[in-house]
């Protein structure tokens, strides 16, 4: 049996192909999901990839959250389906209220592409089990609206509940609150992160192969 991992393509999605490639590299079978179809095709997990859905002309992710496929995804995620949002996918998950907080313009007001050291803060989620708590990995960031923001109470709750999954370990590239690079929901099945692990699955085309663990985590979890 092979884990079937859906990758949703919205108009303007860009890293859908790379997310699928990372799933295959991790031993899973990528399944293409189309924004306009209210159908998850029976997949075991779903990735919302990076990109600029609908051009990000409105608030990032604000239009994509209303796509027909989201009508299926939101209840499935609430029932425990593993869901990973990367960059624009993270923004969509926040807009869909599957994850707390929001992503705002980078502190420098410029798009930032940079290879970063990240720290795995919670290695118990559906998407981070292949790592260990405190492990440091190198993964690229590439975004213009990646500053994580939430009110003080939410940040304290996230910290207390272990919902901060990934943090920036060597300098804060975009002004994110508490150096937060990724968070999860209370159940740990829905994870969102701004850095791009799908671009760190081979040192030929990325800064490292450190990102592969996100994909092997979910593939192993589905089969367990």
């Amino acid at each position: 049996m092979t884990a079937r991992v859906g990758v949703i393509t919205f108009p303007g999605s860009l890293d859908d192909g790379e997310a699928g490639r990372a799933v295959r590299r991790a031993g899973g079978e990528p399944v293409a999901l189309w924004h306009a179809q209210r159908d998850l095709r029976g997949v075991d997990a779903v990735i919302l990839p990076g990109g600029f859905s609908y051009g990000d002309y409105l608030r990032c992710g604000a239009i994509a959250r209303f796509a027909p496929v989201m009508g299926e995804l939101v209840p499935a995620a609430r029932s425990g389906l593993p869901v990973l949002g990367i960059c624009n996918g993270f923004q969509i998950l926040c807009e869909a209220h599957l994850l707390p907080g929001a992503l705002t313009r980078n502190a420098g007001l410029r798009f930032v592409t940079r290879d970063l050291r990240l720290r795995v803060e919670n290695a118990r989620t559906a998407w981070t089990r292949a790592y260990s708590d405190g492990e440091q990995i190198t993964v690229p960031l590439k975004s213009g609206e990646g500053a994580y923001a939430a009110d003080a109470g939410t940040l304290a709750d996230l910290r207390a509940a272990g919902q901060i999954v990934i943090s920036y370990a060597s300098g804060n590239p975009n002004g994110s609150a508490d150096d937060i690079a990724g968070v999860c929901n209370a159940a740990g099945n829905v994870v969102g992160l701004m850095p791009h692990p799908e671009h760190a699955v081979s040192s030929l085309t990325g800064p490292s192969a450190d990102g592969l663990g996100f994909f092997t985590s979910v593939v192993a979890g589905v089969l367990a």
Partner: protein
């Protein structure tokens, strides 16, 4: 629309004065139009001819020279489509073909930096798409006035954000380019965008309207008044009453999201075989697309201009023809396939409209609500005038050549050499470019192997075999100012060498020729010399020119920019897993450039090529003395070829852990860059005069790091290829040490290198 000028009205009122001069046409050109038509043109026809015969679209001042690219082209089995197409197409093996082209968007980027640069990216991407290829990467060669000039602080951030926002949102990795500064570009920044696309051989599309009865479909964005420069002049000067059309800026506004949908839509249309012919809409919009499709096909086309979807209902025929609204394409489709074509467009939320059909009349006829407003032979507009403008070597060339940099004071001790290197490394043209390149996504699509900071960009094309392509662009206005023939060959040599330094084999050339006004005989001489130099250089190197672009009028008043041909070279890499990168790195156990696990001992640094005392136009003379004079370095195309073959062979044999070409700032800057890139120092001993060894800019040179144990086979390979080699040191430590002269810690080197652009631009 009673104000519309029809063909019958033109015949009935032959003496109506027409604003041809305001539209940029000469009296003689206007006379030629009247003679062709046998009557005065309608307003729509005048609009069409004026844009088709503009310098930008017709190449009327340059084409007598550009023929050399075809006439002198070396035999190449790799060329599938050459000059004259939207972009050249090159066979790279395994059934893959690659198409690439570079184009300028200089003036719009000065007027409105963000949108000007953004739409420059959009335009070149559509050129590549129209060939049938999937666009896979972009590069940008950008040049500005003095780095500390107030206007540069206005123009540069906007240009960079425009390139970034369009390319990033479109999902194309930016894999390199150039950034330079010189006061000569104040008021005339150069923004040259390159795009490369990949297809299978049989995906090649043609830009021709053939097959009587086939339908002409316009799809993509709606048509608005953006980019309509002269049409409002036309409307108000001749016919009055059109004053209700709001004046809008003549720089176009880009919508990269629409372009992303258009790319995916076109690729699906191609895959389903729904397209007979296709053309992108760029400069001159509908006028150019209809004229060129018809002229390249069977000649006849009937177009209903009132069927063009508009975003501003007040537009009339001249404005519709001239509009440069972005993100539009035009296709020729068999009638039986039209419904399926429109369905695919609808799937991608792309607006489409049948606006005409191919006819057997041999004439391009356009109607507006039933009345004929255009009726002309399309070839007459597509093949515009051709001028042999006066060209004469500038009066200042002799004085420039006589002003030899040998007279400049040179550093005589280690302290002076050290200071010179640090000054070069912190100068805006040679400083670390991260402030710019961090704004570009180099990762998207997942096939980027090398990108900015390296000698060339390198993309994986075929995952199974590692087949890939390398690309580099280079230009050097200072060299070209001293001698445009040699300077252009030096730019070609550097781009060729940069591609070779990745381990790839150079295959083909594109060019963007940035010059002043063609009305100035000294500029025309520079242009003629540059084209001759490039054509001769390509013939000597065995790489054909596959296409390019000319940008004239880059001047303010009577002062032209330095002649700045920017040359792009494409190479094929047999296996990108064996790529060469510039960084000096300790053995790390990683695959590829960082070394091989278990290696013992330090990699040795070998200098390839011959170094002469050549400082004319050098970075040292420019940065330390503000000097430009003498002769540029002598190109040596035969030596470039031997060096390139050596690097490809050494990469294939796995003998090297790094390679870096020598160019601006010579060996000194190259060593510093390799140390910083890999995070490892080096110790070198220099043969001969240390100043010449460090800062001369002799061509056909590179440094390589030879893997421990590979010294003897590499030396033998150098001998076999006839490349002079000198072992000058070893990699290691955390300092750049030039024995007997100076040592600089990597931390100081990095601080000096990285501080400049953030200090200037925030």
């Amino acid at each position: 629309m009673s104000h519309v000028d029809t063909v019958s009205r033109a015949a009935a009122a032959p003496d109506t004065p027409q604003p041809f001069a305001e539209l940029g046409l000469t009296e003689a050109e206007y006379g030629r139009i009247v003679a062709t038509l046998g009557r005065r043109p309608t307003a729509a026809e005048l609009a069409l001819y004026s844009v088709m015969w503009s310098e930008h679209c017709s190449y009327k001042s340059s084409k007598v020279y550009l023929r050399q690219f075809a006439d002198k082209a070396p035999p190449s089995s790799a060329l599938l489509a050459g000059i004259g197409h939207n972009a050249g197409v090159v066979d790279i093996g395994l059934g893959y073909a690659v198409t690439f082209k570079i184009e300028s968007h200089n003036h719009p980027s000065y007027v409105e930096p963000h949108q000007g640069a953004a739409t420059g990216v959009g335009g070149i991407v559509r050129d590549i798409l129209a060939m049938g290829a999937r666009p896979v990467a972009v590069m940008d060669a950008i040049r500005f006035g003095a780095a500390d000039a107030p206007d540069t602080a206005r123009v540069l951030p906007g240009v960079v954000s425009g390139i970034a926002s369009y390319g990033n949102c479109l999902g194309l990795p930016n894999i390199g380019g150039e950034l330079d500064f010189d006061p000569c570009y104040a008021g005339n920044p150069l923004v040259n965008a390159l795009c490369v696309g990949v297809m299978r051989h049989d995906d090649l599309q043609v830009a021709a309207a053939t097959g009587e009865g086939n339908q002409v479909i316009l799809f993509g964005s709606t048509t608005g008044p953006d980019g309509v420069g002269g049409a409002s002049v036309l409307a108000s000067a001749v016919f009055g009453g059109s004053g209700e059309t709001a004046k809008r800026p003549s720089v176009q506004v880009g919508d990269p999201f629409m372009e992303k949908l258009l790319v995916e839509c076109c690729l699906e249309l191609f895959a389903r075989g729904l397209v007979v012919g296709i053309q992108d809409l760029g400069a001159a919009g509908v006028a150019c697309a209809t004229t060129e499709l018809a002229a390249a096909g069977t000649g006849g086309m009937a177009v209903r201009l009132d069927a063009v979807p508009l975003r501003d209902p007040s537009l009339g025929p001249p404005e519709i023809l001239m509009s440069e609204s972005q993100e539009r394409m035009m296709a020729v489709v068999e009638p039986a396939r039209v419904a399926e074509f429109l369905d695919v467009c609808a799937k991608w939320d792309i607006r489409s409209a049948v606006i005409g059909e191919v006819t057997g009349t041999g004439r391009l006829v356009m109607t507006w609500h039933g009345e004929t407003v255009v009726d002309l032979p399309p070839g007459s507009a597509a093949d515009g005038p051709e001028y042999q403008r006066p060209a004469e070597r500038g009066a200042d060339q002799d004085a420039l050549a006589a002003d030899d940099p040998a007279a400049l004071p040179r550093p005589s001790d280690g302290e002076g050499l050290r200071a010179a290197l640090l000054a070069l490394l912190s100068s805006p043209g040679l400083a670390d470019k991260s402030w710019v390149t961090e704004q570009y996504d180099r990762y998207v699509r997942g096939d980027t192997v090398l990108a900015m900071g390296e000698d060339g960009g390198l993309l994986r094309i075929d995952e199974a075999t590692g087949l890939g392509i390398a690309l580099a662009t280079d230009g050097n206005g200072r060299y070209c100012k001293l001698d445009p023939y040699l300077g252009t060959q030096l730019a070609l040599s550097e781009a060729y060498r940069n591609v070779a330094a990745t381990g790839a084999r150079p295959l083909a050339v594109t060019n963007c020729l940035n010059f002043g006004s063609p009305a100035d005989p000294a500029v025309m001489w520079q242009f003629a010399e540059a084209v001759r130099g490039l054509a001769d250089g390509c013939a000597a190197l065995g790489v054909p020119v596959t296409g390019g672009n000319v940008s004239f009028y880059n001047q303010t008043g009577s002062t032209a920019i330095h002649p700045t041909p920017v040359i792009g070279v494409l190479g094929v890499h047999d296996d990108v897993r064996r790529r060469l990168a510039i960084g000096f790195a300790s053995p790390a156990g990683d695959d590829g450039a960082a070394g091989v696990a278990g290696e013992v001992g330090a990699a040795s640094i070998v200098l390839l090529g011959r170094t002469e005392a050549e400082f004319g136009g050098s970075a040292w003379a420019h940065v330390r003395h503000g000097h430009l004079g003498g002769r540029p370095p002598a190109p040596d195309l035969d030596a470039e070829q031997r060096l390139a073959r050596l690097l490809a062979a050494a990469a294939e044999a796995g003998l090297l852990s790094a390679a870096h070409d020598l160019s601006d700032g010579g060996l000194a800057v190259a060593l510093a860059e390799s140390c910083l890139r890999g995070g490892t120092g080096c110790v070198v001993r220099l043969p001969g005069d240390p100043f010449t060894a460090l800062f001369s800019e002799s061509a056909a040179r590179a440094i390589v790091a030879v893997r421990p144990g590979a010294e003897a086979p590499f030396q033998a390979l150098c001998a076999e290829h006839g490349v002079p080699e000198a072992s000058i040191g070893t990699i290691g430590g955390d300092e750049l040490v030039v024995e007997g002269a100076f040592a600089i810690g990597l931390a100081e080197l990095a601080a000096v290198h990285t501080q400049t652009l953030p200090a200037l631009f925030g």
